[in-house]
Each structure stands twice: as C-alpha cells, then as structure tokens.
C-alpha cells in the first residue's frame, strides 16, 4: 500500500522542477560539448530524469547517495550545486573535487553525495558499508546504491546484496534499467528472467516501477525508506527507463546500428518530463505560464553556472601531487 495516496502540491512541483532542471542542464552540456572545453567523458541522463528525481527527492539530506559514471542527475536531485558540478566537468579548481575526477566522480559531502564510481558495481559495497556504520551506531540514515542493469551481472552486486540482507542493513539498491550496457542489449547479456528475481533470491523485497513515472518512483522509494528506517533491511527498486543519447558523449546515435529509431521513438513518447508536465497541467497544479517561467529561471541559472565554470581557473599543475596520502 502506498503510504501517500496523494502527493502534496509542493512536492509535485518540486519533482517536476527537478526533472526539468536535469533535462535542461544535460541538454546544455550536450550543446556546448562541441566547444571541447569540457575535456572529460560525459554520460548524460536525458530520458532517465525520473529515476533520479523520484528517488532523491524522497530522501533526507542526511541520507547518503553512491552513484555511478552517470551521476549528474543524481547529484542535481540530491540538492547538488550546479556550479560546482559544471566546474568539475570543466576541470576547474572550483569543481566539487577540484578537477580530480571530472564528470565520472561527482561527489559533494555538503549534500551527502558520498561518491560516484565509474567502474560498474564498484559503488554498491560502499553504500552497504555506509549502511553498516549507521546500523552499528544506531543512526536511522539510509544509504542509496545507484546501479545500472549491467551491475547485476557483477559478482560484487550479489556479494553486497547477500551481506546487506544478512545484517538487514538500511540500504536501497536502485537499479536503473535502460536496457543497454554501452551498445549491448539486455537480452544479449542476461537470460529471460526478471531482474527483480535476483534481489528476491537474496531475500530482498523488490519494487518494479515504470522508471519514467516520477510519482511511482517517488512513492516506491518512500515505502522502501520506511522499511529501511524501521530496521527491516534493504530493498531493491527496479526502474525501467531509457537512455536517449549515446552511452558516452553528447550525441544521438540511433543511426550506428545497435538500436532502432522505432524503439527510441517509443521511449521518447514516454518522456518522463513531458508526461509529468501533462499530468500536472491536467490536474491544474501547473499552468503553461508556470512551466515557461520555470524554464526561464533554470536557463538563467544554467547560463550563470556555465559562466562560473568557464571563468574559473584551472588548478595549478603543481598541486597534482597533493593529497595522495592523508
């Protein structure tokens, strides 16, 4: 049973605004990437906004997020500072980690975005360890491990799930199933069985959501969090979604032959941002004018953040040797 039957008005707007902000930021990165000033790989989240916003907006600030190579949306949803994120992607000293990691390592302790790790599955046990520390010390924080559909192919997922359930740790495994590992389809990598069955085999309760329906993601997350905070252990959320752009980079790549334009169009018609916008317009929670105004505000923030990032200095190369040891 959903613990909230009807979302509060403010939360609906927050979810929508968060997704719209992610969309516009990622589009701006995509547009400006050709300038070749963002000199690191970028894995954009266009099409997957609901999976980020629906989960992270259900969290408290004290809850901890562990992410992957595709972390921009998670960071922004967790309350991250757009200026610090863009500066990091531009390799600047003002980046959230001073240019040490770039797009694939976005982290910021101010908002408990503890780490983003680009090696598939590598962040999962870190989230479990964070949950173990909270469990040992009696704090009711929850740790979130974001993973992709390929992560369940990694041994470390199963090792982590086994241990998390063994000790009923307050951790949420959030699997964004975008159907592809780089260019390889899910059915070429995994047999025909539900991904949720893997978590269930470890004794972990699962939620299978339309990952493009932000309210469904949000409600399922709240349920899972309630379990975690009442010492009932981990949950596994499977969010079906789709990556619009290439695995890594700013472009559409439906033409190179690993997926069809027809498949892409099906998912584009299920655009999480547009779907939710229509929903809120229909309910009268937002007007067209509201959405235009919101877009303008976000664009202003984005322009200012790009200016900040571009005008920030590079870190001095003599500091590259610093912080090898504490």
């Amino acid at each position: 049973m959903a613990i909230i039957m009807k979302l509060e008005y403010e939360k609906s707007i927050e979810l929508y605004a968060c997704m719209q902000r992610i969309r516009l930021v990622e589009e701006a990165i995509s547009t400006r990437y050709v300038e070749q000033e963002m000199r690191c790989p970028v894995h954009l989240s266009i099409g997957q906004e609901a999976a980020a916003a629906g989960v992270c907006l259900a969290l408290e600030t004290r809850d901890k997020v562990f992410s992957t190579h595709r972390s921009h949306a998670h960071y922004l949803s967790k309350g991250g500072d757009l200026r610090k994120m863009l500066a990091e992607i531009y390799g600047k000293a003002t980046g959230c980690i001073g240019g040490r990691g770039g797009s694939m390592h976005i982290m910021d302790l101010d908002v408990n975005m503890v780490a983003s790790i680009p090696i598939v599955g590598s962040c999962i046990p870190l989230a479990v360890g964070s949950a173990l520390a909270d469990s040992l010390d009696g704090r009711d924080n929850v740790s979130i491990a974001y993973l992709g559909d390929a992560s369940v192919e990694e041994g470390v997922f199963h090792e982590s799930a086994n241990f998390a359930k063994l000790r009923d740790l307050p951790v949420l495994f959030v699997c964004e199933n975008n159907l592809y590992s780089v260019y390889t389809q899910l059915h070429e990598r995994q047999p025909d069985r539900p991904i949720t069955a893997l978590a269930e085999a470890h004794g972990i309760p699962t939620y299978h959501c339309d990952g493009n329906n932000v309210e469904e993601v949000y409600r399922s997350t709240l349920n899972a969090l309630k379990n975690a905070r009442s010492n009932k252990g981990p949950s596994f959320l499977l969010l079906d979604t789709y990556r619009w752009l290439e695995h890594c980079g700013p472009n559409f790549d439906n033409d190179i032959g690993y997926r069809t334009e027809a498949e892409f169009r099906i998912w584009k018609n299920r655009d999480p941002v547009i779907l939710y916008k229509k929903n809120l317009l229909k309910k009268g929670i937002l007007t067209e004018e509201d959405t235009v105004e919101l877009k303008c505000e976000i664009q202003k923030e984005i322009t200012a953040a790009f200016d900040f990032a571009k005008n920030s200095p590079y870190p001095d190369h003599s500091t590259a040797i610093n912080n090898v040891y504490a």
């Binding site: 790790i117 479990v128 740790s143």
Partner: protein, 360 residues
C-alpha cells in the same frame, strides 16, 4: 622502551591489534572466520569477548564486496581491519583496493580519508603450493595512495600494526606466516612505531644488504655469521615499501659501494628491482660493483617438497651472492657457510626455522 618479555611476532600482532581496538571503539574487524576457534592463526583470538562480538564482523566469502563494505564504513568514521588468511584472497578484492581504497583521498581532493588496515598473510611450507604462498608486495606497492608494510621483527610488528590502525590511510600489512613464529622482546604496554623508512638492524661497512619480511631473518643469520670472521654489513629491514624512503640506503651505499637486495617475493619486477634501479640512478659513481638482486625464481611455487628444494632464497644462497661482492678468503667463506649450515642442520625445508629467537 625495553622489555624482557619474549613473545612471537604473531602474538605481538595480536597484542597490538587488541590494545588498539580497546583504546578506540571505532576499530572493527572483518575476516572470514573472524571469531572462529582459530581466529586467523590466533591473531584475533579472544577479541569478541574483550571488545564485543558486534565489532567482529564475519565476512561472507565475498572478498571484493566486503573490502568495499570496509571502505564504506571507513568513509563513515570507522577504523576497519580486514584480515585475509592468504594474500591470494585479497586478489579478489583488488578492484576495491586499487580503485577505491587507494584513490578516495586523492580523488575527493582530500575530503575523504580511508583509515583501513588490510592484513595479507603470506603462506609457506607444508606444500602450500602455487596459490597459498604468493608474496605479491611488488604489485601492491605500485599503487599510490596505499601504504604497504612488511614488519619482520616482533617489536616492530606490534608498534607498526598499532600505527597502521591509527593511520588515516589504507595500510596493507603483509605478514609472512613464518615471521609469525619469530620470537623477540616486546614491551607489554601500548606503543606506536611510525610507518617510516627502512630500519638498520646491523651496522657495518663491507656491503649494504636490504631485505624484506622473512628474508630479513635469513639475512640476519648471514650478517651475524659473518661477524665471526670480522666482516660487518649494513643490514636494512625495509619494513615500509610504500611510501619508500631510500635515503638511509643511499647513505649506506655511499659508504660501502656495494648493494645486495633480497626479496621475499619475486625477483623480477620486485622490490629489489625498484631499489637497485633507484640506487644506480642516485649513487652510480659510488658503486664499486654491480648490485645484486635475489628473489623468487620466475615460476609459480610448486607444492612438492621435492620441487621446492631450490626455490626459496635462504641464508646459504645469500652468503654465496654476498661473497661475490665481498670476496672472503676460501677458509673464512667455508667456515661461515658451515656455521650457517649447522644451525639449520636436518630441519626439513618445508617447516619454519626455530632459529629466529631474539633479541634482534
């Protein structure tokens, strides 16, 4: 600090870990069999009763994830200690060790610390064979961000394992199983020995001898046997492989002009390779003869007592290599060799040597 109490290195490790755990409640232990009757060769014996069983985290047979879990608790302010019963099991955790433990402080621009101790135990003897006796310090020492130590003597082992627990960096402690049996004087109280630099354990001018781990004990036997014929050597127990402090070795080679390194692990791409190449770069003009490296031969460790007959470096081989640098007269050389040989006598080659009793 002095002590008349003699205990083994294994007991010294246990005492250090226990005292560190009792002083700091954030220390928690992970191992496969962390609280079982044998408790990692006895080195964690009785910990549960003394510090609380909730601080003894049983590791499912999931080395990579549990190393990640330990990194995760370290990110949250704990001081985890993972004990791997053999080096080889830590290989399954290499992803977490190399990608996360070693890099978190750096990548986070100093915001994250990983105060993690990983104990890797090197097996030897009784047919341990190819995958229970590897000493892979050369590989682990490649990663910036890790500290890698190999304590050889009981007093160092206790102080250094305490320092490792208190260190805010990931520290790999590579313990040779045969070193566990070495006995020496160890103070009973809590003390910390800084994780720095090689330690000179014999002083001399004939040659500079640099050894790691169990090979330090074999070198000690040679150094002491040589003193009976009036030859003294500078013997360094390297102790800390990373960060590497070469300066004491540089000063010694400037004095002796001769260098012999003895690895516990492989000779190729080994610790000796790093030291010899650095010394050649820094002290080329001081070298009187080409340095020599000793280490394990270029094949896996076989199990059979017959096949390992010539596999490990021992004090006789060290003496023979050393003699090409110091050129003893024949009777002195044969005398020293005979003394060393008599000490070991007919002890089978696949069991620990009872000779190594301190004070060192």
């Amino acid at each position: 600090m002095t002590s008349d109490r003699s205990i083994s290195l294994g007991e010294a490790i246990r005492e250090g870990l226990l005292q560190a755990s009792q002083r700091d409640s954030s220390v928690i232990h992970f191992a496969e069999g962390v609280d079982d009757p044998l408790a990692v060769f006895g080195t964690l014996k009785g910990f549960g009763d003394k510090i609380g069983h909730e601080r003894m985290i049983e590791m499912p047979i999931s080395e990579n994830a549990l190393t990640g879990v330990a990194i995760g608790v370290a990110l949250s302010g704990k001081r985890p200690v993972i004990s791997f019963q053999r080096v080889e099991f830590a290989m399954l955790a290499l992803e977490q060790i190399a990608n996360n433990a070693a890099k978190f402080h750096y990548v986070s621009n100093g915001q994250h610390n990983i105060p993690l101790v990983m104990r890797l135990i090197v097996g030897r003897g009784w047919g341990q064979g190819p995958e229970h006796s590897q000493s892979l310090e050369g590989m682990f020492a490649q990663f910036p961000g890790l500290k890698v130590i190999m304590p050889s003597l009981p007093e160092d082992a206790k102080g250094m394992i305490i320092a490792a627990v208190n260190d805010n960096n990931p520290v790999l402690v590579i313990e040779h199983r045969w070193n566990h049996y070495a006995v020496g004087n160890v103070p009973t109280e809590y003390y910390s020995k800084d994780i720095v630099g090689p330690k000179k354990i014999r002083n001399g001018d004939a040659v500079t001898l640099v050894a790691t781990s169990y090979m330090t004990l074999e070198c000690l036997r040679v150094a002491d046997a040589l003193s009976s014929v009036g030859v003294s050597v500078d013997l360094f127990d390297l102790r800390v492989l990373r960060p590497l402090d070469l300066e004491p070795i540089v000063q010694s080679v400037k004095k002796t002009g001769k260098l012999l390194t003895v690895d516990t692990g492989y000779r190729k791409y080994g610790i000796g390779a790093e030291i010899v190449s650095s010394i050649v770069e820094i002290c080329f003009n001081f070298l009187k003869l080409a340095p020599i490296r000793l280490g394990l031969p270029d094949h896996p460790t076989p199990s059979s007592a017959g096949l390992i007959k010539n596999y490990y470096i021992d004090s006789i081989k060290i003496l023979e290599s050393l003699n090409t640098l110091i050129k003893l007269d024949r009777s002195s050389f044969e005398g020293v060799k005979k003394n060393i040989f008599n000490e070991r006598k007919d002890i089978p080659i696949d069991v620990p040597d009872p000779f190594f009793k301190g004070p060192f």
